[in-house]
Structures are given as structure tokens and as C-alpha cells.
Symmetry: C2
Subunit: 414 residues, 2 copies
């Protein structure tokens, strides 16, 4: 229907920004933060953030349970982190080489991470997972890398969830297994025929839209044993879970130490940084692989990381987030029961997921999230959420109040 020349369309600030963005950014936004992937009513643009609160450009304030999809682990504008970052910024950030803070951070990471004899820094989680695979291949002189079906390890051709622009050769040396399924790993080892460089595994199973699964300790131990027998590297992709489950590495919770780990997200409370940590036998290979970037010696994110790790240790960040995550989980269970809405909660309490029974199309999950958002809490219907250390009991209770509205909306649909 042609618009009347007098039609005035009132767009809110978020809609106006989206309209402008569509003209200059393909699809409006790249990647995982594109609000087109979110339920009705979710904003795309943010005006400001503080602690665990976000304000979108339309002026709505929410208690946030996504923590920027992981990076925010102490809350936005954490004073110790921002003070450390500004102090380093006043000296220098991106120079002709690193600042002394690099050495302090590297020593801290090697001291903190149980399996680590050395570390490298980078900018993206994908930088770190790619470096792990390349280092394992350089060290072993082999090519095959075992990867769990459906696991996310980054957004470049060898691992991207989209196959657009990906060639068969980009994935020629990946061999699939199923998470928590030892027999499938053994079959993959056989398929690799002695050419196995590494087994790559996420800290827990956190595939989008499926219940989260913690690693079975027997599975984790089997991967360790197989890698030892084969002379291959066990690589834990701790990009998403790192520093939320255990300060010394997520697989400390199952008593297994990897040879290489990839880190990013929470490492510097939102400042752009990633890391690889490795065991001694991979040090020489890590020297031979050329891995670098224009900003990888930038000192400000390193200072932020040092402050972030220090604060997480001081307050026992993983325990803090687990306690608040458990309070959220218990509250959600009670609310779901009261509304007669069956839900399935999964994952570690620091990184929870709420799914609705019989909700294949996510009609219920989307309705829950949209109604909860309108009532002041930002949940996600199919991706694991992230607690952060700024969440107080009052924030959790505020989130549960909003969830109450969400369950009411689901009950109305039921």
C-alpha cells in the first residue's frame, strides 16, 4: 500500500539507528550481537552500562544476564579495572613493543592456570583457538584435529558456523566426535590414522539451543589418556567459560589438565584481549608459529586483565557468580512451578540456560524473554547466559520479578 504523503512514521531511536545501519552495514550488524537473532522487542543499540545494568538508546534500563556474551565478569566500569587501564593509558598503550605489564600478566597467567608453562596474548577468541590448532600441528608434525560436532570455536573458515565462503580444504583435517561420548572419540582417533595433532574440546558443551552439558569426568580423563597415548595435544577451548567456573582453568573442576588452552572474553572485563596457555613440550612449536597482530602488544588491555584477575581471585569470582546463579536458578524453578510451566535448566550456575519443555520453535522461550525484557531483565532464550560479579541478591530478585512476568506470558500462550 503506497504511503500517503502525510503519513508520519514515528520511529524510536533504536529503530532509527537500525534503519541507518542497514544502509551501511550488511544485514544491519555482523555476528552474534545482531538483534535480528533475538526475540521481539530486544534493542540493538546501547546508551550506557553500569555494573550489571544496561540502558538502551530508547531509555529502558534492564538487569542484564548476558554480560556482553561473556566479557563483563566484574560488571561494567569496575573501578579497579578502569583505574588500572587509565593509569596504563596515561603512560602508553600501543607502542613499538610491550610495556612491563606484559611480563606481570604473563607471569600471573602462568602462575594461575594449572597446566600453563607459558602464554601468548592475542585479541580474539578465534585468534587463540586458531593458534592452539596451529601450535599443536607444528609440535606434532601431524594434521588431524578432533572437534566435537556442533561446538563453536570461532568465526573463520576452519570453524565458522556458516559455510558461506568456506572451501572443503578449510576443514579437510577436522575429524568429528560427540561431546561426552568416549566411543565416538575412539572412532575419530581411528579415522585420523596416526595423523592426530590434537583433540579440541570446549570447557563444557554449550551448543546454541541445546541443553548445556558439563563434561563427564570419565570423558575428560579419556581425552587426556588418548592424547598421552597418541602424543597429541589436548586443547581446551576455555574462551567462553574461562575465569567463570574455576580460576585455574575450567577443567580443574574435573581434574584434567590440558596441554593448550584458549582464553578470551572474561580475561580483561571487556577490554579486548585473548590468550593461549601451553605446556612445556609445546613451547618450541609456539616459537615457530608466527602469530601476531597490530594491537597485540597494546598495554591497556593487559593492565585491565591483571586487575580483573586480581579482583576475581580476591573475591573468589567463580564462587560469587555460582551463588548468585544458584539463587537465580532456584527462583526460576519456583516461579515456573507456580505458573505451571515446565522448564529445563542446565549448565553451571554461572552460565545458565533456561529452556521450555516442548518448545522446539522457541515460541515459549521468545515470549518469556520478551515479557521479561519489558519488565526489566535481559535474558536469552537459546544461548547460555552469563552471570557477573556485580549481580547482587537484589539484582537477582529484580531479575526474578521480571521473570515472573515472563512466565505469566508463557502461561497465557500455553
Amino acid at each position: 500500500m503506497p504511503e500517503s504523503p502525510n503519513t508520519v512514521i514515528h520511529l524510536d531511536p533504536d529503530a532509527m539507528l537500525r534503519g541507518r545501519a542497514r544502509r551501511v552495514i550488511p544485514g544491519g550488524l555482523w555476528g552474534h550481537l545482531n538483534a535480528a537473532r533475538l526475540p521481539e522487542g530486544y534493542p540493538q543499540y546501547y546508551a550506557r552500562a553500569e555494573g550489571c545494568r544496561l540502558w538502551d538508546v530508547n531509555g529502558r534500563e534492564v538487569v542484564d544476564f548476558m554480560s556482553s556474551w561473556g566479557p563483563i565478569v566484574l560488571g561494567h566500569h569496575h573501578p579497579a579495572v578502569e583505574q588500572a587501564a587509565r593509569r596504563q593509558a596515561d603512560l602508553g598503550d600501543c607502542m613499538n613493543g610491550p610495556a612491563p605489564v606484559l611480563v606481570e600478566l604473563a607471569e600471573r597467567l602462568v602462575g594461575l592456570i594449572a597446566h600453563a608453562d607459558w602464554c601468548l596474548l592475542a585479541k580474539n577468541g578465534t585468534d587463540a583457538t586458531t593458534a592452539c590448532v596451529t601450535i599443536a600441528r607444528a609440535a606434532t608434525g601431524r594434521r588431524k584435529v578432533l572437534v566435537a560436532r556442533g561446538s563453536y570455536h570461532g568465526a573463520v573458515p576452519w570453524c565458522s558456523p556458516s559455510l558461506a565462503g568456506v572451501t572443503a580444504e578449510d576443514r579437510a583435517h577436522l575429524v568429528s566426535y560427540d561431546y561426552n561420548d568416549i566411543a565416538s572419540v575412539e572412532a575419530a582417533v581411528a579415522e585420523a590414522k596416526g595423523d592426530m595433532a590434537a583433540i579440541l574440546v570446549t570447557a563444557f558443551r554449550h551448543d546454541m539451543a541445546l541443553p548445556l552439558e558439563l563434561p563427564d569426568p570419565a570423558f575428560a580423563q579419556a581425552l587426556r589418556t588418548i592424547c598421552d597415548q597418541q602424543g597429541a595435544a589436548l586443547v581446551v577451548d576455555d574462551v567462553r567459560a574461562g575465569f567463570r567456573l574455576h580460576m585455574a582453568g575450567s577443567w580443574e573442576t574435573v581434574g584434567v589438565r590440558p596441554d593448550l588452552s584458549a582464553w578470551s572474553k572474561a580475561i580483561a572485563n571487556g577490554h579486548p584481549l585473548a590468550a593461549v596457555t601451553g605446556a612445556e613440550w609445546l613451547r618450541q612449536a609456539a616459537t615457530q608459529v608466527f602469530t601476531t597482530g597490530s594491537f597485540w602488544c597494546g598495554a591497556v588491555p593487559m593492565a585491565a586483565a591483571l586487575a580483573t584477575l586480581g579482583e576475581l581471585e580476591r573475591i573468589d569470582g567463580p564462587a560469587t557468580m555460582a551463588a548468585m546463579g544458584q539463587r537465580l536458578r532456584d527462583g526460576l524453578d519456583a516461579l515456573a512451578a507456580r505458573h505451571g510451566v515446565p522448564i529445563r535448566q542446565s549448565g553451571p550456575p554461572q552460565m545458565p540456560l533456561v529452556l521450555f519443555e516442548g518448545d522446539a520453535g522457541f515460541r515459549l522461550g521468545d515470549a518469556f524473554c520478551s515479557a521479561a525484557l519489558a519488565a526489566g531483565a535481559y535474558f536469552h532464550p537459546r544461548h547460555n547466559m552469563f552471570l557477573n560479579c556485580a549481580h547482587t541478591e537484589a539484582d537477582i530478585d529484580r531479575g526474578l520479578q521480571a521473570a515472573d512476568a515472563g512466565f505469566a506470558a508463557v502461561a497465557r500462550l500455553g
Copy 2:
């Protein structure tokens, strides 16, 4: 010789930091900023930076001609850039989505870059070159990418200068040509046998340790014509040269517009940011390719970029750097003649390289740099250098004073 128990080794702060780093970082430091790749006497660690001056941890102040290998284009601590960055940081950086500054920056880039109909942001130059290749493959449904022998496009397996950990399949679809050699490109096109997705080319030839070569306009035009005939994407890797030669894209200087460009380094005066710009026909493919990272919606580097681009336009950054680069070049020529030391200067004046005649092992270049460093200027013997807009005539003259000491050292070796 065993050390006597009474031997006291006096190490300077840089040496002490290097010793500590060697234990926790493979090879002491990853990548291009490892001082082991530099001449005798070069520091590894920096205490602070201001404008075009650096202070290493041993307390030496130098006039810097590397500009952090490119990112620093306005000088360290540029007030307009840092003010914009801090204003955004006070609001929020890494949130559940971008801040409005994303839209302003995307519009600015699309308005500024001659060939651009859209843009994507990222963190590393390698992110941008990898996305260009993937988008070109997605758009054309073809696989082969023509790459100039010796060109640097990043530090992951498909393009890394090291082959450690790289499989044959990582480079299965690259076809080589020689920079500025049209016949070699035609041969590569024939070799690609109708499966050509893209020609990838650096803004000018800047291979390490070789004289720099500007693109021959006929060569640039031939690449454009071949891509048009073949329905392939012409990709200019402007990561290193971008915003130093021409604000609208380095190939504006030869009158050729690419289909895709990769940007990083100078785009935000040292804040971590990269970009891809593209033509309309590649927009849909850019939507299909999944490219993302945990910090890619971080608003602070975007605010810094907007301020950097505005300031570069306001002062005509490329012309400013060209004038100071020419002053340096003229001064170096005069000094070389006075010392009777034959040199060969190459490259655009904003990104100069000084080579010594008959210096295959870089004995002369290294001696020049070490002596100039001791006299207060930071040059590089085999990688192109980078002027920035903080270089004044007095700084250039200070650099030339130090170069005088460098030439004297070379003459003594003569």
C-alpha cells in the same frame, strides 16, 4: 666458563624484563615486535609514549619513526582521540550490542572510502583480510585467490609467513603472481581455470627487506579489468598503508577502485580496530559469512576511529606526513652524500625505507640503526617505517641529527 659465586651481573631494566619474559612467553615475545629481530641495542619494553616520542624502560628517549608499526598516525595521546575514547568509555564499551557511534563510524567510512557501499568492523588486520577472501568466495561461488609472491596479508595459516603448523590444504586455493607484473597475473588467471574468486593485492609492494614499490597504474588498471572480465573481486589490502597515502583509499592515487578493502592499523590511532569495506554486489555475501568476535562491538575504539578520521581529514594527514617524510628523505640523501655512503630510498614518503647499497646481510643497515638509536632516533633497517602527524620539522631535524651519527658509523665500517 662457570661463573664465580661472587660475580654480580648488572642488568638494566629492559634486560631484566626480557629475562623474566623468556620463562613465560615462547621466544620472549610473539610476532613482529620481538626485539630479537632488531639491531643491537634496540629495547624491547617501553615505559611511555607522547606524540612521536618514546621512552624505553631504561630511560632513553627517542624520536620514533615506526609509529608502533603503523597504528599511531596522529601521535600518541592525541587529545581529540583520547577525549572521544574517554567520553565513550564513561558511557560504555563492550555491551550487549553496539553504541550509536557504530552507525556514525560506518556512515563515515562509507562516505570517505571511494569504493565503499558498506563496511564491517573487526579487531585485527588479519580478521579483515580473511573476511575479504571469504566474502569474495561466498559471492562468486569460486575458490581461487590470486596473491602476490612475498606479500604479507596476516598471521594465520592461509597467509602466515611461517609454514610451521600450516597444512597444504590451508593454501590449496592460492595462486601466485608477481607484484607489478601483468603477465604473471594473466598466467595466474589461466592457472585458476575459471575458479577465480579474487585478486588480493597490497596497496603498494612492501615486502620486508626489499625496496618498496608503488603500484604501476597500468598494473592496477589491469587487475581492475581482469576482475571485471572474470566476475572476481579486486581486494586491496590497505591494512598497512590505509589513511597514510589517501583518505579515500590508497589506490585512489592510481585511479583504481577495488571491490573490497581491508583496513586496520592507523584507523583508530592505536585503539584496536579493523574494517572491511565493500561494493554493493558483495553485500549479500557479507551477510552470509559469519564473522564476529567478543569485542567487535566495543564502542571505545569506534569513538577513537571517528575522532582519528576527522582529525586526519581536518589537517590533511596524508599531505602532512608526506611533507615531513619528504623532509626526512631529502635530509637523509644529503647526509648520505656527505658521508659518501650510497643509499637507496624507496616507498611513499609517509612510509619510507632506507637500504644501503651492497648490504645483503644488513650489516650496514643494522650499524646505521644502532648508532642512530644511541643518538636518539628509532629507525628500522628492513621494514618500511611510518611517519605520523605528530612529527614536526624539529622532530625530523632531530631524527636527521641522529641519522648523521648512523651514517658516520656506516662510513667507519665502509
